[in-house]
Symmetry: D2
Subunit: 355 residues, 4 copies
């Protein structure tokens, strides 16, 4: 089975290479009757877009989206929605030097090994440019989920070894790293710029939060909600770890500490803590959804590294081109998008739970 689709019921298929004429996504399974416009999608694409600040790549892509199908009179019709984005500022010539050399930490070697051929220009299909399509699709999911009061956002909780220690939701979009702690944000930006000055890069950690996610989503025992969140988030370029709720720190707790006690409140069960991250037994429990991802430092660095070529030669490499010294801030809307897609998919799947 080919791997460029995600979701069972609310299903997306993305296509396009970094330096081809365009990239796009087909959303199949979005219910009819959802109000959707290009503006709603553009709003999210603009958050992921490059060239927004001094800490992102200077490739200038307007990332202007067009809806080519599936929407009639401003409303989805239940038919596939194709959203397309032209590539405009691709400079393939910058990549001539890596036509043969495998950039360390990139997919150059693995794509060639797998397929016997690769589009080396800008990383081809392996480029993070593909994530624009995820964000576009996520905007459709967001439009669908809006009517149910579901609200998802993400923020940077760590860059390199600088961790956020305060949380102000309204601060997030006001700094270049999308951190809810403005003071930490300042240090994070400095750390990124310092890395870039050395021709190096840094990674970080993003937290995704989901409010209003109803209890009951998730299809045990394999398409559990947490399992699909893990897949969705791990499928994002550069992500090397995913944890839910207390995550890895739960491993060092006792059961009596980690269990979330329940009480009644206004006639409904509530949880006094949230180590579960809103998921018990693979099914959402109505508590806030909490997931975190580890993002590795951008592999494209100016600093010289040693590598090999497809001819079997060893060679030093210094990855030129226009790269983010830290992809974490731009990965924030991507993490949101993937989470929204999982929620939309399971929201629909859950409609089959009862006769």
């Amino acid at each position: 089975m080919a791997g460029n689709s995600f979701g069972a019921q609310f299903r997306i298929t993305t296509w396009g290479e970094s330096h081809g004429p365009a990239i796009g996504v087909v959303v199949d399974g979005c219910p009819a009757g959802v109000v959707l416009s290009e503006e709603m999608i553009q709003l999210q694409l603009d958050r992921r877009r490059t060239g927004q600040s001094e800490i992102t790549t200077q490739r200038k892509e307007p990332d202007r989206c067009r809806i080519l199908s599936g929407v009639f009179d401003g409303v989805t019709t239940g038919t596939p929605i194709n959203i397309q984005i032209e590539n405009q500022d691709s400079k393939s010539s910058s990549y001539d030097s890596i036509r043969k050399a495998f950039r360390p930490g990139h997919a150059d070697y693995t794509y060639l090994t797998k397929y016997g051929i690769r589009d080396h220009r800008g990383g081809g299909r392996a480029s993070a440019r593909e994530t624009a399509c995820r964000v576009a699709a996520g905007a459709v999911a967001r439009a669908f989920l809006l009517r149910y009061g579901i609200d998802v956002f993400a923020h940077t909780v760590k860059i390199h070894d600088i961790a956020a220690s305060k949380f102000d939701r309204f601060a997030i979009e006001k700094n270049d790293v999308r951190c809810a702690d403005p003071d930490a944000a300042t240090l994070m930006v400095e750390r990124i710029l310092a890395a870039r000055k050395q021709g190096d890069s840094v990674g970080g950690v993003i937290e995704v939060l989901g409010f209003g996610v109803p209890a009951g989503l998730g299809e045990p025992v394999y398409d559990r909600f947490d399992a699909d969140i893990a897949k969705a988030l791990m499928s994002i370029n550069a992500v090397k770890g995913v944890e839910i709720g207390a995550g890895f720190s739960a491993a060092a707790l006792n059961g009596s500490q980690n269990n979330d006690p329940m009480r009644m409140k206004n006639g409904s069960p509530v949880f006094l803590s949230n180590n579960s991250g809103g998921i018990d037994g693979g099914i959402t429990n109505g508590n806030t959804l909490v997931a975190r991802i580890a993002v590795k430092p951008t592999p494209s660095i100016l600093k010289e590294q040693m590598t090999v070529t497809s001819d079997g030669a060893e060679t030093p490499i210094s990855v030129e081109g226009r790269h983010d010294p830290c992809v974490v801030p731009r990965a924030v809307p991507v993490a949101e998008a993937m989470t929204l897609l999982v929620i939309a998919d399971h929201y629909l799947r859950n409609r089959s739970a009862r006769a």
Copy 2:
């Protein structure tokens, strides 16, 4: 889409509840020509079985498997393989007290919310007993992958706050916690017994290693190898985090530290380090596969907790019954099994990569 299947090409479907007459798994898509016997499956089931040591539950299930289809003259025929295990030592009466009360940290509340009905006996479908079926299916995958020299095993690297610091593969199966560091193993066992004495439980971390996994496995950009590993491992009961290679620690590295440099060795490319955990761009690179999972402390504890019932009453609860004070050691073969299933599935899917 129903959620009890895993895998696209090498596909399993499990069925059965903790206290029903039997549990089982149908393996569909195992190629013809694989030598397979009940003994090969039993060997793995015995590793997961209860009652093996003082730190596991005292429920005594022989977990005797039977192959009911798909094997002829000792060889798989390409048709579905049904493997079945009878439940023998289920004591449903122990569960009468929780017919209405929601055990904290369990799926009682979420199953009832989702389906409007639940088999409360032993956790029903949400019981970790289901993982026996995963181990049985994993044994089939192991038999298939054996011929390609692929070798997967897992070991406990942390229990509560005690971490392993040495690695001796042959020590793993010689201690009750399946730790490759015999000294740490001793401390770990003590820690588990101490928790049990207090009516409490502990969690831990397991590492899975895959040797001989060929480069080229994984189907970008969604069915990436790492994304499917994340889903597979996160779908195991009690798992709250998954990381690949350097994982969360990669977030605090520079790109120049985290990138794995390549060199030529005997005419083939090799990596000088393995922060990638054997996966670049979602495709295996031929390096050792490395994944780690966080296992939460067993939610079933004797210590009294407060919770609510399906009638909306608040009640103290002390979870009786026969429970593992720490599920980590028994989760080791389950983590191996899920990893083997992902490899087998992608091994077959990769056969379509080239014309």
Copy 3:
């Protein structure tokens, strides 16, 4: 992707060979809250069972079913339902003569070519015995659809060149060929017995009717309702053709004859004719569902035929064993079952049509 599953949301997976210890089916995705008992399944299995009359095979299988999971207190729980049937009266020795010879019209040659190995005993997995599992699964779908007033039944409309010309629903189960025309039924039985006397066999045509199927089922443009019906029915052993509504005869009509005119009746649209068979544009229109299938004559005949062996020798063959001289009557409940499964699947999928 392995091929032993059917359905996307209401999904079945069957397993088992004709002469293995048992056969069975896992139904995954049946909603919670459906009243289901072994009796309800047995009722349908008994209709497909052998040894019911002089025109069926004399293999005596009680086909006693057991539900091993997914039902609690007489109601489905939303978890996988495994239904199992033991094989009792298999006489594998009768098949020793065909260990090497390929029976004409059978799957012997194709299974061996595909898999390189085959379980020759009773046709192994290719045996029509597998259809018992379809009937069991269909009974679950029937139980689910019952609450929505959906009623599906099938009847024999042709055996060899004898066609039914009257329709009395209540006559169907009163004759051995399941024909709604009692007079034609008598001739049909004679024709079958005559064929058997000559060591030969005959085929026929079955019509499936669905009443109460709501408008709106079907997922264009590939998982159209008619496309899934075609797949479901063509997947039944011995079926070589499927038509919907006017079917092949529509090819010789004018548009003005074939179009079904609409009128209003009691405030709702109705159709004055039903050449569409209840499906327009791949979506049910609320009219009666009508499908017909062509069933080929049983390939197993006593009459001597020439064939080849897996050793490359030519040999005469006379297929001994206990075979139906005409499988049409026993295919009637199978055709119903497959139709019920398609309806149940699309009934659930349609729940995602609107936001």
Copy 4:
């Protein structure tokens, strides 16, 4: 699960409405290394294109295709191939009269019933215009299968009640109805023109033949090769019946007539007849693949019919606009395309049959 994808391994997803800005298809799972150009696709699109003769609609669509991804240096890379076709000659105003009225034999009523909204312009998604995307995808499958010597073509065997009685492959593309019998072709064209003169339409039957299809394709017991062919062909607009090999006529044969006897020839098994249509037990047997489909008469006719509107009023309707009086000739390349897609999909799936 959304319904706009077809195929498990060689998988297509189509999008676009008749009167939207464009239509297209994403082919995911085409192996890397297939030589593919826009010309190869255009060649097939031109066969389906309108305005080719006096018997087709006068809507003039150049159907110029563009490959936007998945091909690099003239060769597929294993990544998704997006092929796009602009809509140019859509006259939406012709459809204002049917904004509310349901055209008999069309999907107007069913789409509105299902989704609560519909794009009425030109039939929206239900338009046969979507089949251009199938033809484009089929051209990719053809390019892939070419290297294995697989050759698929279709021809018209019946229009209304005029049947072909001769077979000259090279005659097919030389007449407007794509009939292999030039004399019958002349009569068929006359019949179509006569129908049009009366404001009416006619249907017909198409036969698809596949040469060089290797034995072993098909995944029993549900994704049988014949079952997937049935689904593929029944999913084409206006198709109401599918038969394989002897098809419905097999129902009136004896087993001794219908079975295809085997003999050895040059060391390989061959069949002396082909009532099976190249498929036994759901798996190809190496014989020529033979399938036939019944195509209903075009529902869009000028002749006045009675129908109802979405307001619940009864109204006469005369379907203006530019329509084919017979869609059979243009359905020929579509039937080929769907067959090629099934073969390509099963060709790849069969790579997993043996260890």
